[in-house]
Amino acid sequence: MFSRSLAVGLLAAALFATATAQTAAAQRIVGPGSLNGVWQIAPQRGEVPDPRLRIPPRSIPPLKAEVVAAYEIRQRALREAEEQGRPLAVERVDCVPDGFPRMMGTTLPIEIIESPGKVTMIVEFNTQVRHIHLDAKHPPADELEFNFFGNSVGWWQGDTLVVETVGIQPSTLLFDNAPHGERLRITERYRLVTPDILELELTMTDPDTLAEPWTVRRVFARQKGMRLREFVCQENNRNYRGADGAIATDIKD
């Protein structure tokens, strides 16, 4: 009799524990904790897009009149070199990291790790890492440093992780090779549309190069079971900048 009550009690406790765990799991479907995992931009080339993906249309950098001419000359030079089969060596060829925000356009995976007070994003391509401090402040203007990935602070707004980044060095480029200055400010909004589809809306504002805020959208698909790989660009980079500025390749004899 005693043992039966004990068994019933244990069963009840187990059921309660399971129910509690399920509630906790359900709570993690959106909001803090929901972004943990490995993600890859979708659809990958050659893949049939998931019908649930709302693939964003292509957007064009809304550059200010004073930077458009130089930008178009550079874009034309890149395009003509491509057409002639002598592509120009850009920074990536020298293994220089993309920096933020271009790193978020990678076709290789990105791991998001949420920990207390922090969200870490590891971009596999060239092992680029973002440290996003939650409920924190940017340093004062006279202490702000300029670097590849900028200074990022974030906060949860309901089911959306909002990240604001400043301090991105102007040697890096925006998407589509668009230039930026030191006053660049980027706001990102990460939101799950299903447990396995993550939408990013990224808005760039820069009084030096952009005539108006420039918003691009990205969609990432969760990669269950995928482990991030190391990616050391200098491991075996057999491409280099030729004397004519085009990409040269180390071919063995």
Partner: protein, 128 residues
């Protein structure tokens, strides 16, 4: 008529499916002639399973008895893995046939399109 409209609409949709911003790899592949393919049959001397690119080194015997060496570029390790390649898919001494896009410069290099392994299996590669 209907089918024409439908296919136009599909084409428009396909254009919309382009990513918001082009996402390139370590470098452009414009140095390879993607309108041409060349077949290379020979012996693997080395398979470099490395980033930012994998490389296949192959000795190709010619009709005149000479052996010509080629360096064939593949994608990053992750991209190759996602298309079925593994670290020891090719081993030194393996006799294989490679289909490659040759270098437009005429150099003895190219970009891998597919490899037929000694056991007859075929591995392919498409840049992403």
């Amino acid at each position: 008529m209907l089918s024409k409209t439908t296919s136009l609409r599909s084409a428009a949709l396909a254009l919309l499916m382009l990513p918001a911003v082009p996402v390139a790899a370590h470098h452009s592949t414009a140095m390879f002639d993607k309108k041409r393919t060349v077949e290379l049959t020979g012996a693997i001397t080395e398979f470099q399973w490395t980033n930012p690119h994998t490389w296949i080194e192959i000795d190709v015997p010619q009709a005149n008895g000479q052996v010509v060496h080629y360096s064939i570029e593949g994608g990053a390790v992750r991209t190759m893995e996602q298309q079925g390649w593994k670290v020891r898919s090719l081993k030194p001494g393996d006799r294989v046939t490679l289909v490659v896009h040759p270098m437009r410069s005429g150099g003895r290099g190219g970009m891998i399109v597919r490899a037929t392994l000694p056991d007859g299996r075929v591995l392919s590669y498409q840049p992403r």
